[in-house]
Protein backbone atom coordinates (compact mmCIF):
# COMPACT_ATOMS: atom_id res chain seq x y z
CA UNK A 1 0.00 0.00 0.00
CA UNK A 2 1.22 3.43 -0.83
CA UNK A 3 1.66 5.80 2.06
CA UNK A 4 0.69 9.37 1.45
CA UNK A 5 2.92 11.89 3.08
CA UNK A 6 1.65 15.44 3.65
CA UNK A 7 5.14 16.84 3.12
CA UNK A 8 5.06 17.43 -0.67
CA UNK A 9 1.73 19.23 -0.48
CA UNK A 10 2.89 21.39 2.42
CA UNK A 11 6.12 22.14 0.61
CA UNK A 12 4.31 23.12 -2.57
CA UNK A 13 1.96 25.38 -0.63
CA UNK A 14 4.80 27.12 1.10
CA UNK A 15 6.68 27.58 -2.14
CA UNK A 16 3.59 29.02 -3.78
CA UNK A 17 3.01 31.43 -0.90
CA UNK A 18 6.60 32.64 -1.08
CA UNK A 19 6.30 33.32 -4.79
CA UNK A 20 2.95 35.03 -4.32
CA UNK A 21 4.25 37.38 -1.66
CA UNK A 22 7.40 38.18 -3.62
CA UNK A 23 6.00 38.62 -7.08
CA UNK A 24 2.39 39.70 -6.61
CA UNK A 25 3.28 43.15 -5.21
CA UNK A 26 5.64 43.67 -8.13
CA UNK A 27 2.97 42.62 -10.59
CA UNK A 28 0.48 44.98 -8.94
CA UNK A 29 2.95 47.81 -9.21
CA UNK A 30 3.53 47.09 -12.87
CA UNK A 31 -0.17 46.92 -13.66
CA UNK A 32 -1.02 50.13 -11.83
CA UNK A 33 1.82 51.99 -13.53
CA UNK A 34 -0.47 51.96 -16.55
CA UNK A 35 -3.51 53.13 -14.56
CA UNK A 36 -4.25 56.65 -15.67
CA UNK A 37 -7.07 59.11 -16.22
CA UNK A 38 -9.68 58.20 -18.78
CA UNK A 39 -10.11 60.47 -21.82
CA UNK A 40 -11.06 63.94 -20.77
CA UNK A 41 -10.69 63.19 -17.10
CA UNK A 42 -8.88 65.86 -15.16
CA UNK A 43 -6.04 64.77 -12.91
CA UNK A 44 -6.28 66.60 -9.65
CA UNK A 45 -4.63 64.29 -7.18
CA UNK A 46 -2.00 61.88 -8.64
CA UNK A 47 -2.10 59.39 -5.77
CA UNK A 48 -5.69 58.44 -6.61
CA UNK A 49 -4.29 56.38 -9.50
CA UNK A 50 -1.47 54.72 -7.58
CA UNK A 51 -3.44 51.73 -6.43
CA UNK A 52 -6.93 50.52 -5.53
CA UNK A 53 -9.24 51.41 -8.33
CA UNK A 54 -8.62 50.89 -12.01
CA UNK A 55 -9.42 53.89 -14.17
CA UNK A 56 -8.11 53.45 -17.69
CA UNK A 57 -5.02 52.34 -19.54
CA UNK A 58 -2.64 55.23 -19.96
CA UNK A 59 1.03 56.10 -20.36
CA UNK A 60 0.43 59.30 -18.43
CA UNK A 61 2.87 58.48 -15.61
CA UNK A 62 5.60 57.41 -17.97
CA UNK A 63 5.24 60.70 -19.80
CA UNK A 64 5.40 62.67 -16.57
CA UNK A 65 8.31 60.56 -15.45
CA UNK A 66 10.39 61.36 -18.51
CA UNK A 67 9.60 65.03 -18.09
CA UNK A 68 10.87 64.97 -14.51
CA UNK A 69 14.39 66.39 -14.49
CA UNK A 70 15.08 65.66 -10.83
CA UNK A 71 14.19 62.02 -11.26
CA UNK A 72 16.36 61.69 -14.36
CA UNK A 73 19.20 63.23 -12.43
CA UNK A 74 18.76 60.84 -9.51
CA UNK A 75 18.70 57.91 -11.92
CA UNK A 76 21.92 59.12 -13.53
CA UNK A 77 23.52 59.54 -10.10
CA UNK A 78 22.65 55.99 -9.15
CA UNK A 79 24.02 54.61 -12.41
CA UNK A 80 27.28 56.54 -12.15
CA UNK A 81 27.81 55.56 -8.54
CA UNK A 82 27.00 51.88 -9.21
CA UNK A 83 29.30 51.81 -12.24
CA UNK A 84 32.30 53.10 -10.34
CA UNK A 85 31.50 51.04 -7.27
CA UNK A 86 31.41 47.86 -9.35
CA UNK A 87 34.60 48.73 -11.23
CA UNK A 88 36.60 49.61 -8.15
CA UNK A 89 35.29 46.85 -5.90
CA UNK A 90 35.88 44.18 -8.57
CA UNK A 91 39.47 45.35 -8.89
CA UNK A 92 40.08 45.51 -5.15
CA UNK A 93 38.03 42.38 -4.41
CA UNK A 94 39.87 40.25 -6.97
CA UNK A 95 43.22 41.34 -5.59
CA UNK A 96 42.08 40.76 -2.01
CA UNK A 97 40.76 37.30 -2.86
CA UNK A 98 44.01 36.43 -4.66
CA UNK A 99 46.05 37.54 -1.68
CA UNK A 100 43.84 35.69 0.78
CA UNK A 101 43.88 32.51 -1.26
CA UNK A 102 47.39 32.49 -2.56
CA UNK A 103 49.65 34.26 -0.13
CA UNK A 104 50.54 33.79 3.48
CA UNK A 105 50.94 36.94 5.50
CA UNK A 106 50.92 37.97 9.10
CA UNK A 107 47.43 38.48 10.51
CA UNK A 108 45.73 36.84 7.55
CA UNK A 109 43.08 35.10 9.65
CA UNK A 110 42.09 38.27 11.50
CA UNK A 111 42.08 40.21 8.26
CA UNK A 112 39.76 37.70 6.63
CA UNK A 113 37.30 37.72 9.53
CA UNK A 114 37.29 41.52 9.72
CA UNK A 115 36.56 41.62 6.03
CA UNK A 116 33.26 39.77 6.38
CA UNK A 117 31.88 41.45 9.48
CA UNK A 118 30.46 44.50 7.62
CA UNK A 119 28.18 42.15 5.69
CA UNK A 120 26.33 41.41 8.92
CA UNK A 121 26.20 44.88 10.44
CA UNK A 122 22.98 46.90 10.60
CA UNK A 123 22.91 49.54 7.89
CA UNK A 124 21.71 52.37 10.12
CA UNK A 125 24.65 51.96 12.47
CA UNK A 126 27.05 51.75 9.56
CA UNK A 127 25.44 54.79 7.99
CA UNK A 128 25.61 56.92 11.11
CA UNK A 129 29.15 55.91 11.97
CA UNK A 130 30.35 56.43 8.41
CA UNK A 131 28.75 59.86 8.36
CA UNK A 132 30.45 60.81 11.62
CA UNK A 133 33.77 59.48 10.42
CA UNK A 134 33.54 61.39 7.14
CA UNK A 135 32.71 64.57 9.08
CA UNK A 136 35.75 63.90 11.22
CA UNK A 137 38.10 63.55 8.26
CA UNK A 138 36.40 66.40 6.42
CA UNK A 139 34.88 64.49 3.50
CA UNK A 140 31.70 66.35 2.52
CA UNK A 141 28.45 64.50 1.80
CA UNK A 142 27.87 63.79 -1.88
CA UNK A 143 29.25 61.60 -4.68
CA UNK A 144 32.60 60.83 -3.05
CA UNK A 145 31.23 59.93 0.33
CA UNK A 146 28.67 57.59 -1.25
CA UNK A 147 31.31 56.05 -3.51
CA UNK A 148 33.77 55.37 -0.70
CA UNK A 149 31.11 53.88 1.57
CA UNK A 150 29.66 51.69 -1.19
CA UNK A 151 33.07 50.40 -2.23
CA UNK A 152 33.92 49.61 1.38
CA UNK A 153 30.81 47.47 1.67
CA UNK A 154 30.85 45.78 -1.73
CA UNK A 155 34.51 44.71 -1.54
CA UNK A 156 33.76 41.99 1.07
CA UNK A 157 30.89 40.75 -1.08
CA UNK A 158 33.04 40.62 -4.20
CA UNK A 159 35.93 39.03 -2.31
CA UNK A 160 33.70 36.32 -0.93
CA UNK A 161 32.28 35.40 -4.34
CA UNK A 162 35.65 35.41 -6.10
CA UNK A 163 37.28 33.48 -3.28
CA UNK A 164 34.63 30.78 -3.73
CA UNK A 165 35.54 30.60 -7.40
CA UNK A 166 39.25 30.45 -6.62
CA UNK A 167 38.69 27.42 -4.44
CA UNK A 168 37.41 25.61 -7.50
CA UNK A 169 40.30 26.51 -9.77
CA UNK A 170 42.98 24.01 -10.58
CA UNK A 171 46.03 26.03 -9.57
CA UNK A 172 48.48 23.78 -11.34
CA UNK A 173 47.16 25.58 -14.44
CA UNK A 174 48.95 28.69 -13.20
CA UNK A 175 52.08 26.65 -12.58
CA UNK A 176 51.76 25.15 -16.04
CA UNK A 177 51.60 28.64 -17.55
CA UNK A 178 54.72 29.69 -15.62
CA UNK A 179 56.43 26.49 -16.69
CA UNK A 180 55.60 27.16 -20.35
CA UNK A 181 57.26 30.55 -20.22
CA UNK A 182 54.61 32.94 -18.97
CA UNK A 183 55.69 35.60 -16.48
CA UNK A 184 53.55 35.73 -13.32
CA UNK A 185 51.63 38.67 -14.77
CA UNK A 186 51.04 36.94 -18.11
CA UNK A 187 49.96 33.76 -16.33
CA UNK A 188 47.46 35.82 -14.37
CA UNK A 189 46.15 37.53 -17.48
CA UNK A 190 46.01 34.55 -19.83
CA UNK A 191 45.13 31.70 -17.52
CA UNK A 192 43.97 32.71 -14.04
CA UNK A 193 41.79 35.62 -15.11
CA UNK A 194 39.83 33.71 -17.78
CA UNK A 195 39.17 30.97 -15.24
CA UNK A 196 38.05 33.53 -12.66
CA UNK A 197 35.84 35.40 -15.11
CA UNK A 198 32.58 33.64 -14.18
CA UNK A 199 33.23 34.50 -10.53
CA UNK A 200 34.13 38.09 -11.31
CA UNK A 201 31.04 38.35 -13.44
CA UNK A 202 28.81 36.96 -10.70
CA UNK A 203 30.40 39.29 -8.17
CA UNK A 204 29.68 42.27 -10.42
CA UNK A 205 26.12 41.10 -10.82
CA UNK A 206 25.77 41.15 -7.03
CA UNK A 207 27.65 44.38 -6.39
CA UNK A 208 25.81 46.44 -8.99
CA UNK A 209 22.30 46.08 -7.51
CA UNK A 210 23.75 46.34 -4.01
CA UNK A 211 25.05 49.80 -4.79
CA UNK A 212 22.17 50.78 -7.04
CA UNK A 213 19.57 49.77 -4.45
CA UNK A 214 21.24 50.85 -1.27
CA UNK A 215 19.03 53.17 0.70
CA UNK A 216 20.10 53.07 4.32
CA UNK A 217 23.80 53.93 4.11
CA UNK A 218 23.25 56.31 1.22
CA UNK A 219 20.52 58.08 3.16
CA UNK A 220 23.07 59.26 5.70
CA UNK A 221 25.66 60.27 3.11
CA UNK A 222 23.88 61.69 0.10
CA UNK A 223 23.72 65.31 1.18
CA UNK A 224 21.38 67.92 -0.23
CA UNK A 225 22.64 67.84 -3.82
CA UNK A 226 23.25 64.19 -4.60
CA UNK A 227 20.00 62.22 -4.52
CA UNK A 228 20.20 58.66 -5.77
CA UNK A 229 17.19 56.82 -7.14
CA UNK A 230 16.18 55.03 -3.91
CA UNK A 231 16.41 58.31 -2.01
CA UNK A 232 14.28 59.97 -4.69
CA UNK A 233 11.64 57.24 -4.60
CA UNK A 234 11.49 57.51 -0.84
CA UNK A 235 10.96 61.23 -0.99
CA UNK A 236 8.32 60.83 -3.73
CA UNK A 237 6.44 58.29 -1.65
CA UNK A 238 6.14 60.98 0.90
CA UNK A 239 5.45 60.62 4.55
CA UNK A 240 1.67 60.60 4.27
CA UNK A 241 1.73 57.23 2.55
CA UNK A 242 0.23 58.75 -0.55
CA UNK A 243 2.44 57.37 -3.30
CA UNK A 244 2.67 59.07 -6.62
CA UNK A 245 1.86 56.68 -9.49
CA UNK A 246 5.06 57.95 -11.08
CA UNK A 247 6.80 55.69 -8.59
CA UNK A 248 4.87 52.78 -10.10
CA UNK A 249 6.13 53.68 -13.54
CA UNK A 250 9.66 54.15 -12.29
CA UNK A 251 9.51 50.88 -10.36
CA UNK A 252 8.34 49.07 -13.47
CA UNK A 253 11.23 50.46 -15.47
CA UNK A 254 13.75 49.49 -12.80
CA UNK A 255 12.31 45.99 -12.50
CA UNK A 256 12.36 45.46 -16.26
CA UNK A 257 15.88 46.87 -16.39
CA UNK A 258 17.10 44.51 -13.66
CA UNK A 259 15.46 41.57 -15.37
CA UNK A 260 17.12 42.44 -18.68
CA UNK A 261 20.45 42.80 -16.91
CA UNK A 262 20.20 39.36 -15.34
CA UNK A 263 18.87 37.58 -18.41
CA UNK A 264 21.38 39.34 -20.63
CA UNK A 265 24.19 38.50 -18.25
CA UNK A 266 23.34 34.84 -18.09
CA UNK A 267 22.95 34.71 -21.85
CA UNK A 268 26.33 36.37 -22.42
CA UNK A 269 27.95 34.00 -19.96
CA UNK A 270 26.50 30.92 -21.67
CA UNK A 271 27.52 32.21 -25.07
CA UNK A 272 31.06 32.86 -23.93
CA UNK A 273 31.33 29.43 -22.36
CA UNK A 274 30.11 27.80 -25.53
CA UNK A 275 32.55 29.76 -27.66
CA UNK A 276 35.77 29.11 -25.79
Amino acid sequence: MKRHSPTPILLATFALLVYVFVYLPMATLMVFSFNGPANGENVRREWVYATGQWHAFSLEWYQRLFGDKDLAQAFAHSLVVAFWVVTISLLLGTMTAYALYHRKFWGKGVFEQLLYIPLFMPGTIVGVSTLMFFRFIGLPRGFWSILVAHVAFTVPLVTLVILARMQRINWSLEEAALDLGASPFTAMRKVVFPLLRPGIFAAGLLAFPWSFNDFVITFFLHGPKYDTLPIMIYSMAGRSGAVSPRVNALGTLVLVGSLLLIVGGVWLQRKRERQS
Binding site: E175, L178, D179, T186, L195
Partner: protein
Protein backbone atom coordinates in the same frame (compact mmCIF):
# COMPACT_ATOMS: atom_id res chain seq x y z
CA UNK B 1 86.53 19.74 -19.28
CA UNK B 2 83.90 17.89 -17.32
CA UNK B 3 81.11 16.06 -19.03
CA UNK B 4 77.93 17.96 -19.90
CA UNK B 5 74.93 16.56 -18.12
CA UNK B 6 71.39 17.37 -19.10
CA UNK B 7 70.45 17.78 -15.46
CA UNK B 8 72.64 17.61 -12.40
CA UNK B 9 71.72 17.86 -8.73
CA UNK B 10 74.44 18.58 -6.20
CA UNK B 11 73.62 18.15 -2.52
CA UNK B 12 70.04 19.27 -3.04
CA UNK B 13 67.85 19.53 0.04
CA UNK B 14 64.29 20.72 0.54
CA UNK B 15 62.52 21.16 3.85
CA UNK B 16 58.79 21.44 4.37
CA UNK B 17 58.62 22.82 7.88
CA UNK B 18 60.76 20.48 9.95
CA UNK B 19 60.60 17.59 7.53
CA UNK B 20 63.20 17.10 4.83
CA UNK B 21 61.22 16.12 1.74
CA UNK B 22 64.49 15.86 -0.16
CA UNK B 23 67.60 15.22 1.86
CA UNK B 24 70.92 15.74 0.12
CA UNK B 25 70.49 14.29 -3.34
CA UNK B 26 73.23 14.02 -5.95
CA UNK B 27 72.18 12.98 -9.41
CA UNK B 28 73.52 13.18 -12.92
CA UNK B 29 71.13 12.71 -15.81
CA UNK B 30 72.73 12.19 -19.22
CA UNK B 31 71.61 13.88 -22.41
CA UNK B 32 68.83 12.05 -24.20
CA UNK B 33 68.30 9.68 -21.32
CA UNK B 34 64.98 8.34 -20.09
CA UNK B 35 65.55 8.66 -16.37
CA UNK B 36 63.03 7.58 -13.74
CA UNK B 37 62.62 8.66 -10.15
CA UNK B 38 60.90 5.71 -8.53
CA UNK B 39 59.58 5.46 -5.00
CA UNK B 40 56.56 5.29 -2.74
CA UNK B 41 54.47 8.40 -2.13
CA UNK B 42 56.23 10.85 0.14
CA UNK B 43 59.73 9.79 -0.89
CA UNK B 44 60.47 13.22 -2.36
CA UNK B 45 60.42 12.31 -6.04
CA UNK B 46 57.83 14.89 -7.05
CA UNK B 47 59.56 17.57 -4.97
CA UNK B 48 62.77 16.78 -6.85
CA UNK B 49 60.98 17.20 -10.15
CA UNK B 50 59.37 20.47 -9.10
CA UNK B 51 62.74 21.81 -8.00
CA UNK B 52 64.25 20.99 -11.38
CA UNK B 53 61.30 22.73 -13.04
CA UNK B 54 61.66 25.75 -10.75
CA UNK B 55 58.31 25.47 -8.99
CA UNK B 56 60.05 24.84 -5.67
CA UNK B 57 63.31 26.37 -4.51
CA UNK B 58 65.88 24.08 -2.84
CA UNK B 59 66.96 24.99 0.69
CA UNK B 60 70.48 23.79 0.00
CA UNK B 61 72.51 22.51 -2.92
CA UNK B 62 72.62 23.40 -6.58
CA UNK B 63 70.66 22.36 -9.63
CA UNK B 64 72.23 22.49 -13.07
CA UNK B 65 70.55 22.26 -16.43
CA UNK B 66 73.04 21.92 -19.28
CA UNK B 67 75.86 22.69 -16.81
CA UNK B 68 74.31 26.05 -15.89
CA UNK B 69 73.22 26.57 -12.30
CA UNK B 70 69.50 27.39 -12.42
CA UNK B 71 68.86 27.98 -8.71
CA UNK B 72 68.05 31.63 -9.34
CA UNK B 73 66.28 31.21 -12.66
CA UNK B 74 62.46 31.36 -12.47
CA UNK B 75 60.40 28.54 -14.02
CA UNK B 76 59.41 30.64 -17.02
CA UNK B 77 63.02 31.10 -18.02
CA UNK B 78 64.21 27.54 -17.40
CA UNK B 79 64.99 25.14 -20.17
CA UNK B 80 62.77 22.48 -18.61
CA UNK B 81 59.09 21.75 -18.95
CA UNK B 82 56.73 19.78 -16.74
CA UNK B 83 53.94 17.41 -17.65
CA UNK B 84 51.74 17.60 -14.57
CA UNK B 85 50.09 14.68 -12.87
CA UNK B 86 46.66 16.21 -13.48
CA UNK B 87 47.92 17.37 -16.91
CA UNK B 88 46.82 20.99 -16.25
CA UNK B 89 45.56 21.53 -19.79
CA UNK B 90 44.03 24.98 -20.13
CA UNK B 91 40.29 24.24 -20.24
CA UNK B 92 39.41 27.54 -21.88
CA UNK B 93 41.64 26.97 -24.89
CA UNK B 94 41.51 24.58 -27.83
CA UNK B 95 44.02 21.76 -28.12
CA UNK B 96 45.97 23.73 -30.71
CA UNK B 97 45.94 26.86 -28.52
CA UNK B 98 47.19 24.79 -25.60
CA UNK B 99 50.13 23.57 -27.65
CA UNK B 100 50.75 27.02 -29.11
CA UNK B 101 50.70 28.68 -25.66
CA UNK B 102 54.45 28.69 -25.09
CA UNK B 103 55.28 29.52 -28.71
CA UNK B 104 52.98 32.55 -28.70
CA UNK B 105 54.72 33.86 -25.60
CA UNK B 106 57.96 33.68 -27.54
CA UNK B 107 56.40 36.02 -30.10
CA UNK B 108 57.19 33.72 -33.01
CA UNK B 109 55.61 34.45 -36.39
CA UNK B 110 52.07 33.13 -36.70
CA UNK B 111 52.74 30.88 -39.69
CA UNK B 112 55.70 29.31 -37.97
CA UNK B 113 53.55 28.59 -34.89
CA UNK B 114 50.81 27.01 -36.99
CA UNK B 115 53.27 24.75 -38.77
CA UNK B 116 55.02 23.73 -35.56
CA UNK B 117 51.74 22.95 -33.83
CA UNK B 118 50.60 20.85 -36.77
CA UNK B 119 53.88 18.93 -36.73
CA UNK B 120 53.56 18.40 -33.00
CA UNK B 121 49.99 17.12 -33.34
CA UNK B 122 51.27 14.67 -35.93
CA UNK B 123 54.07 13.51 -33.65
CA UNK B 124 51.63 12.66 -30.87
CA UNK B 125 49.11 11.25 -33.38
CA UNK B 126 46.41 13.83 -32.82
CA UNK B 127 46.30 15.37 -36.30
CA UNK B 128 42.91 16.90 -36.99
CA UNK B 129 41.93 17.29 -33.34
CA UNK B 130 43.51 20.73 -32.87
CA UNK B 131 40.19 22.57 -32.78
CA UNK B 132 38.73 20.41 -30.00
CA UNK B 133 38.69 21.47 -26.41
CA UNK B 134 40.66 19.35 -23.93
CA UNK B 135 37.52 18.03 -22.21
CA UNK B 136 36.33 16.65 -25.54
CA UNK B 137 39.31 14.28 -25.69
CA UNK B 138 39.84 10.90 -24.07
CA UNK B 139 42.28 10.48 -21.19
CA UNK B 140 45.02 9.11 -23.43
CA UNK B 141 44.56 11.91 -25.95
CA UNK B 142 44.72 14.56 -23.21
CA UNK B 143 47.93 12.92 -22.11
CA UNK B 144 49.41 13.39 -25.55
CA UNK B 145 48.35 17.04 -25.65
CA UNK B 146 50.11 17.67 -22.33
CA UNK B 147 53.29 16.08 -23.66
CA UNK B 148 53.03 17.97 -26.94
CA UNK B 149 52.45 21.29 -25.20
CA UNK B 150 55.73 20.91 -23.33
CA UNK B 151 57.78 19.27 -26.08
CA UNK B 152 56.90 21.92 -28.65
CA UNK B 153 59.16 24.32 -26.73
CA UNK B 154 62.07 21.93 -27.32
CA UNK B 155 63.19 21.96 -23.70
CA UNK B 156 66.52 20.49 -22.66
CA UNK B 157 64.60 18.20 -20.34
CA UNK B 158 60.98 17.10 -20.07
CA UNK B 159 59.81 16.47 -16.53
CA UNK B 160 56.90 14.05 -16.20
CA UNK B 161 55.08 13.75 -12.88
CA UNK B 162 53.21 10.42 -12.85
CA UNK B 163 51.42 11.44 -16.04
CA UNK B 164 49.81 8.04 -16.53
CA UNK B 165 48.48 7.59 -13.01
CA UNK B 166 44.89 8.41 -13.95
CA UNK B 167 44.67 6.02 -16.91
CA UNK B 168 43.32 2.49 -16.82
CA UNK B 169 45.75 -0.41 -17.10
CA UNK B 170 45.46 -1.12 -20.79
CA UNK B 171 45.72 2.53 -21.82
CA UNK B 172 48.62 2.94 -19.44
CA UNK B 173 50.55 0.23 -21.23
CA UNK B 174 49.84 1.79 -24.60
CA UNK B 175 50.92 5.20 -23.38
CA UNK B 176 54.12 3.80 -21.88
CA UNK B 177 55.10 2.48 -25.29
CA UNK B 178 53.96 5.70 -26.92
CA UNK B 179 55.93 7.94 -24.54
CA UNK B 180 59.04 5.86 -25.09
CA UNK B 181 58.58 6.15 -28.87
CA UNK B 182 58.15 9.93 -28.66
CA UNK B 183 61.23 10.19 -26.47
CA UNK B 184 63.31 8.23 -28.99
CA UNK B 185 61.95 10.32 -31.86
CA UNK B 186 62.77 13.69 -30.35
CA UNK B 187 65.82 12.66 -28.33
CA UNK B 188 64.93 14.96 -25.44
CA UNK B 189 65.99 14.01 -21.93
CA UNK B 190 62.99 12.70 -19.97
CA UNK B 191 62.85 12.62 -16.19
CA UNK B 192 59.92 10.49 -15.21
CA UNK B 193 58.42 10.30 -11.72
CA UNK B 194 56.46 7.19 -10.85
CA UNK B 195 55.59 4.89 -7.96
CA UNK B 196 54.95 1.97 -10.32
CA UNK B 197 58.06 -0.21 -10.49
CA UNK B 198 56.86 -2.06 -13.59
CA UNK B 199 56.37 1.23 -15.41
CA UNK B 200 59.85 2.40 -14.42
CA UNK B 201 61.43 -0.92 -15.41
CA UNK B 202 59.81 -1.05 -18.82
CA UNK B 203 60.47 2.56 -19.86
CA UNK B 204 63.71 3.75 -18.32
CA UNK B 205 67.34 3.81 -19.33
CA UNK B 206 68.20 4.34 -15.69
CA UNK B 207 66.24 4.44 -12.46
CA UNK B 208 66.87 6.17 -9.16
CA UNK B 209 64.91 4.42 -6.41
CA UNK B 210 64.11 6.97 -3.71
CA UNK B 211 63.20 6.58 -0.06
CA UNK B 212 62.72 9.28 2.59
CA UNK B 213 64.26 12.00 0.47
CA UNK B 214 67.42 10.15 -0.54
CA UNK B 215 68.41 7.93 -3.44
CA UNK B 216 68.38 4.34 -2.19
CA UNK B 217 69.83 2.89 -5.38
CA UNK B 218 70.69 4.10 -8.84
CA UNK B 219 71.13 1.88 -11.86
CA UNK B 220 69.75 0.34 -15.01
CA UNK B 221 66.41 -1.47 -14.74
CA UNK B 222 68.13 -4.86 -14.71
CA UNK B 223 70.65 -3.81 -12.06
CA UNK B 224 67.90 -2.50 -9.83
CA UNK B 225 65.63 -5.44 -10.36
CA UNK B 226 68.16 -8.25 -10.26
CA UNK B 227 70.59 -6.88 -7.69
CA UNK B 228 68.75 -4.67 -5.23
CA UNK B 229 71.25 -3.38 -2.70
CA UNK B 230 69.00 -2.76 0.27
CA UNK B 231 65.99 -4.41 1.90
CA UNK B 232 63.85 -1.46 0.91
CA UNK B 233 64.76 -1.69 -2.78
CA UNK B 234 64.39 -5.48 -2.78
CA UNK B 235 60.96 -5.21 -1.21
CA UNK B 236 59.87 -2.29 -3.40
CA UNK B 237 60.94 -4.09 -6.58
CA UNK B 238 58.85 -7.08 -5.61
CA UNK B 239 61.43 -9.56 -4.28
CA UNK B 240 59.22 -11.22 -1.74
CA UNK B 241 61.93 -13.37 -0.20
CA UNK B 242 64.11 -11.34 2.13
CA UNK B 243 66.10 -12.96 4.94
CA UNK B 244 68.36 -11.74 7.74
CA UNK B 245 71.89 -13.16 7.70
CA UNK B 246 73.16 -14.56 11.00
CA UNK B 247 76.56 -15.95 10.03
CA UNK B 248 78.53 -16.24 6.82
CA UNK B 249 81.68 -18.10 5.77
CA UNK B 250 83.66 -18.66 2.59
CA UNK B 251 83.11 -22.00 0.95
CA UNK B 252 84.25 -23.55 -2.29
CA UNK B 253 80.72 -23.38 -3.72
CA UNK B 254 80.43 -19.70 -2.87
CA UNK B 255 79.58 -17.68 0.20
CA UNK B 256 77.84 -19.89 2.73
CA UNK B 257 75.16 -18.01 4.68
CA UNK B 258 73.03 -18.99 7.58
CA UNK B 259 69.83 -17.02 8.01
CA UNK B 260 68.22 -16.12 11.32
CA UNK B 261 65.65 -18.80 10.61
CA UNK B 262 68.37 -21.45 10.16
CA UNK B 263 68.33 -21.73 6.38
CA UNK B 264 71.77 -22.42 4.90
CA UNK B 265 72.13 -20.74 1.51
CA UNK B 266 74.95 -20.37 -1.02
CA UNK B 267 75.49 -16.97 -2.60
CA UNK B 268 78.13 -15.53 -4.93
CA UNK B 269 81.21 -13.89 -3.37
CA UNK B 270 80.64 -10.17 -2.95
CA UNK B 271 82.86 -7.86 -4.97
CA UNK B 272 85.97 -6.87 -3.09
CA UNK B 273 85.60 -3.75 -1.00
CA UNK B 274 81.88 -4.21 -0.48
CA UNK B 275 80.42 -4.01 3.00
CA UNK B 276 79.62 -7.20 4.81
CA UNK B 277 76.18 -8.23 3.64
CA UNK B 278 73.46 -8.26 6.27
CA UNK B 279 70.57 -9.65 4.30
CA UNK B 280 69.62 -11.88 1.44
CA UNK B 281 66.93 -11.60 -1.20
CA UNK B 282 65.74 -14.08 -3.79
CA UNK B 283 63.32 -13.13 -6.55
CA UNK B 284 60.28 -15.42 -6.66
CA UNK B 285 60.76 -16.24 -10.34
CA UNK B 286 64.35 -17.40 -9.72
CA UNK B 287 63.06 -20.24 -7.57
CA UNK B 288 62.17 -23.45 -9.37
CA UNK B 289 59.70 -26.01 -8.07
CA UNK B 290 60.14 -29.75 -8.45
CA UNK B 291 58.05 -32.75 -7.60
CA UNK B 292 61.15 -34.92 -6.81
CA UNK B 293 64.55 -34.15 -5.33
CA UNK B 294 66.28 -35.79 -8.31
CA UNK B 295 64.92 -33.10 -10.66
CA UNK B 296 66.33 -30.27 -8.56
CA UNK B 297 69.53 -28.53 -9.69
CA UNK B 298 71.63 -25.66 -8.36
CA UNK B 299 73.53 -24.98 -5.18
CA UNK B 300 70.44 -24.35 -3.10
CA UNK B 301 67.98 -27.25 -2.85
CA UNK B 302 65.39 -27.57 -0.10
CA UNK B 303 62.33 -29.57 0.73
CA UNK B 304 59.14 -27.85 1.77
CA UNK B 305 55.39 -27.90 1.92
CA UNK B 306 52.94 -25.71 0.00
CA UNK B 307 51.19 -23.33 2.41
CA UNK B 308 49.12 -21.38 -0.07
CA UNK B 309 48.80 -21.00 -3.79
CA UNK B 310 47.19 -18.05 -5.53
CA UNK B 311 46.20 -18.31 -9.18
CA UNK B 312 47.18 -15.13 -11.05
CA UNK B 313 46.47 -16.19 -14.63
CA UNK B 314 49.90 -16.42 -16.20
CA UNK B 315 51.52 -17.74 -13.01
CA UNK B 316 50.61 -19.25 -9.67
CA UNK B 317 52.09 -17.56 -6.63
CA UNK B 318 53.07 -20.35 -4.24
CA UNK B 319 54.08 -19.91 -0.63
CA UNK B 320 56.23 -22.72 0.71
CA UNK B 321 57.21 -23.52 4.30
CA UNK B 322 60.70 -25.03 4.35
CA UNK B 323 61.73 -27.72 6.80
CA UNK B 324 63.79 -25.24 8.84
CA UNK B 325 60.74 -23.00 9.28
CA UNK B 326 61.61 -20.17 6.83
CA UNK B 327 59.00 -19.37 4.22
CA UNK B 328 59.54 -18.73 0.51
CA UNK B 329 57.39 -17.33 -2.25
CA UNK B 330 57.90 -18.82 -5.69
CA UNK B 331 56.13 -18.50 -9.01
CA UNK B 332 55.01 -21.59 -10.85
CA UNK B 333 53.85 -21.18 -14.40
CA UNK B 334 50.41 -22.45 -15.27
CA UNK B 335 51.55 -24.50 -18.24
CA UNK B 336 50.74 -28.20 -18.02
CA UNK B 337 54.33 -29.44 -17.48
CA UNK B 338 54.71 -27.56 -14.19
CA UNK B 339 54.56 -29.61 -10.99
CA UNK B 340 51.26 -29.51 -9.10
CA UNK B 341 51.15 -26.98 -6.29
CA UNK B 342 48.19 -27.95 -4.15
CA UNK B 343 48.12 -26.79 -0.55
CA UNK B 344 49.84 -29.19 1.92
CA UNK B 345 51.68 -30.91 -0.90
CA UNK B 346 55.37 -31.71 -0.43
CA UNK B 347 57.57 -29.95 -2.97
CA UNK B 348 61.28 -29.36 -3.68
CA UNK B 349 62.66 -25.91 -4.38
CA UNK B 350 65.96 -24.95 -5.95
CA UNK B 351 67.88 -21.89 -7.10
CA UNK B 352 71.37 -21.10 -8.27
CA UNK B 353 73.88 -19.43 -5.94
CA UNK B 354 74.04 -16.58 -8.45
CA UNK B 355 70.34 -15.84 -7.77
CA UNK B 356 70.99 -15.27 -4.07
CA UNK B 357 71.26 -11.50 -3.88
CA UNK B 358 73.13 -9.88 -1.00
CA UNK B 359 71.68 -6.86 0.80
CA UNK B 360 73.77 -4.23 2.54
CA UNK B 361 71.73 -2.35 5.08
Amino acid sequence: MSKTYSVELKGVRKLFGEVAAVNHIDLQVHKGEFFSLLGPSGCGKTTCLRMIGGLEAPDAGEIFINNVCVNRIPPYERDASIVFQNLALFPHMSVAANIAFGLKLKKLPKRHIERTVAAMLALVQLSGLGKRRPDQLSGGQQQRVAVARSLVLQPEVLLLDEPLAALDRKLRKEMQVELRRIQRDVGTTFIYVTHDQKEALSMSDRIAVMKDGVVAQLGTPSQIYESPRTRFVADFMGAANVFEIETLQRHNRGLRLRTLGGLVVYAPFPSSGAHTPSGLSIRPEAIRLHARQSDAQGENVFEGKVVSSVYLGDVIEVEIALACGERLVALSNTASHAPPVNVAQAVWVSWAAADSNLLHD
